[in-house]
């Protein structure tokens, strides 16, 4: 059987999904994180259940991409039942979605999540809520697992029926609905005519296209008439009625406990929100991330390389001797360097970064940062809504490009994606910047690269802002409550993100470095890289062999750094300063920070915007990287 999880944002839907299925989902407190339709199979009491996790949505009216995706996927999956996940502390908002699910004829089970929090504030009459809505209601706490078993018991019992609860609308809207019902209009999709008609009036494109042209005309006329008479759009009135209904239900089942004094959590929340304290905190947090990655990452690297070398001993020398000859040397050192590169160069920094990111996401801090930064961003010519994808982009550009879906027009999404690709350093690029310039020339020089990128983002923002005629969409974002991130979730999320570096990056690197080692041992490599030396030597002032790092950087960004160690036959932890000057390291890091998107990002761009656009963005960023690198080389050699 098929079950879909639906709910508002920030209701712990993904946490519940991972509780039910035991599978990790990368979720976070901002729109667009559940960008793909996550699904998993789980067996409960002998029944195989397919569980789908819908992107978080406040309504099914189909305004934003998220809402459209949610409406369409919900209809396509044709689930046996829908688990509507509500935040019990914000009952009204969640009920608005439940009313719509019921209206569309889905068999609904309500999961009242965050019940532990709600109990501290009010008594919630669950039985009464069940009686009113005529659907099963199960209090849950996704983080501890409370109620999840009961929820699944109800799912497999197949006792969930369509609720006949009816949301009442304004008499004029009801008149239209009656007319539709009387006309016995068919939608051909099995939705109850009342529910589909309301969606038609609301203008949800998924439903409008199911009706015949004459019915659509009727609805359009009706919308016009309604507007003339009420001086209010019909969709506003529908929402007004729905919230009225939800509010009435909430007030019937909720019995408030006496208001307590501000708790410590409230005080911390206030501290993060109020600009006077929040902005200094934000600056501290940003600096903290940077310093932690550099310092803790560096410490970890020393620790890991030390342990690795002690563990391995002269095993690779023996391996080389075993295979024998030049090839033996090449193979042994290829394997050795690959393992070192993964363990020592990438893992410490990326691990630290993702751990911090996961904590920030799960604590609900990110939307606060977005809110405080929005005014500044808009002043600098960037869109308010752009902040979230850009923050996500400092982790990885792929989800960042998907997160641009919260913007309304495709053109704007493309522009923002371009800025992200060129000017927002992903975690792998951060590793390169810190691993080269940061370690050799110090934090100040690394800071200079970040400043250059920031400047680049601002210039790009300005230019594109000018080119763009439309009004920038502005920010509307929910500020969730702060919550203590669960260790399990943070670790799970970090693992999901770091996993790729082992399963995808390691084999690539291994093969790549074996080939390179062989080419070097047989002295072929130099002949191969010479023809491109006008780019590397003349323009950038780098050794010709560096082109290999740039090529590998297309596969995965961090490989560019790892390959540096391979082509210069350095062991991890060695000082790159012995083979490249400070200026060369700076130019290299700058080129890599703006350089063409990696394959993953290229695929994401193609998927979202088309091949032509993806190629254009890539070419533009390659050109930009070489121009910037060339300029830096020129300036530094003055």
């Amino acid at each position: 059987m098929k079950v879909v999880l639906a709910g508002n944002l920030n209701v712990g839907k993904s946490a519940l999904f991972s509780r039910i299925t035991g599978i990790g989902v990368i979720s976070a407190n901002y729109p667009g994180t559940t960008v793909q339709f996550e699904s998993a199979s789980v067996t409960h009491k002998g029944q195989v259940i397919e569980v789908f996790d819908l992107p978080g949505t406040y309504s099914l009216s189909g305004v934003t991409e998220d809402e459209r995706v949610a409406t369409r996927l919900l209809a396509e999956k044709d689930p046996d039942c829908v688990i509507a996940v509500l935040d019990a502390t914000r009952l009204e908002q969640g009920l608005v979605l439940v009313l719509q699910l019921i209206e569309l004829g889905y068999r609904v089970i309500v999961a009242l999540n965050f019940m532990d929090q709600a109990r501290k504030r009010f008594n919630l009459d669950v039985k009464r809520l069940e009686d009113i809505l005529k659907v099963p209601v199960v209090p849950t706490v996704a983080l501890s697992g409370e109620g999840v078993g009961r929820l699944m018991d109800i799912v497999v019992s197949e006792s969930v029926r369509r609720s006949y609860y009816v949301t009442r609308y304004d008499s004029h809207i009801e008149a239209f609905l009656e007319e539709m019902a009387a006309g016995k209009v068919e939608t051909g999709s099995g939705f109850p005519i009342r529910g589909a008609s309301i969606k038609l009036l609301e203008g949800n494109p998924y439903f409008t296209k199911q009706f015949s042209p004459s019915v659509k005309r009727l609805a359009d006329e009706y919308r016009k008439e309604f507007r003339e008479q009420h001086f209010e759009d019909v969709e506003v009135h529908i929402a007004r009625d729905r919230y009225g209904e939800a509010g009435k239900i909430a007030s019937e089942v909720v019995d408030w406990l006496p208001k307590k004094e501000m708790t410590t959590k409230d005080r911390i929340s206030e501290f993060t929100l109020r600009p006077r304290t929040g902005i200094p905190l934000l600056i501290g947090v940003l600096l903290g991330i940077f310093l932690s990655v550099v310092i803790i990452g560096g410490e970890l690297e020393t620790l890991i390389t030390g342990a690795y070398n002690a563990l391995v001993g002269d095993a690779f020398d023996q391996l080389a001797a075993l295979i024998g000859g030049t090839a033996g040397q090449a193979i042994a050192s290829g394997i050795n360097l690959s393992i070192q590169a993964i363990l020592a160069i990438v893992i410490p920094y990326i691990l630290v970064f993702y751990l911090i990111l996961a904590v920030l996401e799960d604590s609900g801090y990110l939307p606060r940062a977005v809110m405080l930064l929005d005014g500044l961003m808009v002043r600098l010519g960037l869109h308010g809504q752009a902040v979230i994808p850009m923050v996500v982009g400092t982790g990885c550009n792929v989800p960042a490009i998907l997160a641009t879906r919260t913007l309304e027009s495709k053109r704007e999404r493309l522009i923002l994606s371009t800025i992200i690709v060129m000017a927002v350093p992903c975690s792998a690029q951060t590793v390169i910047i810190i691993g080269t310039v940061g370690q050799h020339s110090g934090i100040l020089w690394a800071g200079l690269i970040y400043l250059t990128l920031l400047g680049l983002a601002l210039v790009l923002g300005r230019v594109l802002h000018k080119v763009l005629k439309e009004e920038p969409p502005s920010l509307v974002i929910e500020i969730p409550e702060l919550s203590m991130p669960s260790v399990r979730n943070v670790l799970l999320k970090t693992w999901l993100r770091v996993k790729d570096f082992f399963v995808i990056a390691f084999p690539l690197l291994l093969v790549g470095s074996l080939v390179l080692e062989l080419l070097m041992e047989y002295n072929i490599l130099n002949a191969l890289v010479d023809p491109l030396s006008f780019l590397t030597v003349w323009l950038l002032g780098l050794p010709p062999v560096i082109i290999v790092a740039l090529v590998f950087g297309v596969l995965r960004k961090e490989m560019a750094l790892q390959i540096l160690f391979v082509i210069f036959s350095l062991s991890a932890g060695a000082d790159l300063g012995t083979v490249l000057t400070s200026e060369q390291l700076f130019v290299f890091a700058l080129v890599m920070a703006t350089y063409m998107p990696c394959i993953g990002v290229f695929a994401a761009l193609t998927k979202e915007f088309g091949l032509k656009e993806a190629v254009a963005v890539s070419l533009a960023s390659i050109t930009l990287a070489f121009l910037l690198g060339g300029a830096a080389h020129f300036l530094l050699s003055l």
Binding site: E235, V236, G384, L475, V476, I479
Partner: protein
């Protein structure tokens, strides 16, 4: 001050007036279900008080003084009808009868509040236009103001969304900015940043652009 009875007569003449043609006494008598004789008597009285021009055999026309009274009463009637039908939920016929009774006694202030509450409708439930008042009782600016103009700590109820862009309206309503809901301004973020508001149990940050479209009536 005009009597209720006189108000009804003037309103009736207003309804029957077509392109400034005089209205016949018989037509008025038919509409109000009275004898022509008693109508004629009232016409003479109202003409003497300067509300009507009365021409024997041709009929009556409203003077500007009479017109003001008639428009005021029609306006009240149609706004009350709207209120009774849309908000109270009465049937049209019932709303009409109820409005007939209330229109004479309701205060001007109440009528204007109803007008704002209904978001300035222009027609009554039957589609007849609602006349503008002669001297518009200027709406109290404190009645409904853009969210973006409110100060930290201000509370109120959303009255309507003042926006022509359907995509923006939908976005606002899907985030819960729906007329009738209570809202509190928590903090205006500096540098032209968003406004942090509290609605029920939910906190939302919205840009000033969006906030200027949410109209709120301040209350405690």
């Amino acid at each position: 001050m005009v009597s209720e009875n006189a108000e009804d007569y003037l309103a009736c003449i207003y309804d029957l007036t077509r392109e400034d043609e005089p209205v016949k006494t018989t037509a008025i008598a038919a509409k109000l279900d009275l004898t022509p004789a008693s109508v004629t008597e009232m016409m003479q009285k109202l003409a003497a008080e300067g509300y009507l021009n009365y021409e024997k055999y041709k009929g009556v026309t409203l003077t500007s003084k009479g017109r003001t009274v008639a428009e005021r009463i029609k306006r009240r009637h149609r706004l009350l009808e709207r209120f009774l039908v849309d908000i109270v939920g009465m049937e049209k016929e019932q709303g009409h009868l109820e409005a007939m009774k209330l229109e004479h006694n309701v205060s001007d202030e109440t009528v204007e509040v109803i007008n704002q509450m209904l978001n300035y409708p222009t027609v009554c439930p039957d589609g007849d236009p609602i006349p503008c008042c002669e001297s518009p009782a200027t709406p109290d600016p404190a009645f409904s103001m853009p969210l973006s103009d409110m100060s930290d700590g201000d509370q109120g109820k959303i009255t309507h969304l003042a926006c022509e862009d359907s995509a923006k309206i939908k976005r606002l309503i899907s985030m819960g900015f729906v007329p009738g809901r209570r809202i509190k301004v928590e903090e205006r973020i500096p540098l032209g940043g968003p406004i942090l508001v509290q609605m029920e149990e939910m906190k939302v940050a919205l840009s000033r652009d969006y906030a200027s479209k949410v109209m709120v009536r301040k209350c405690d």
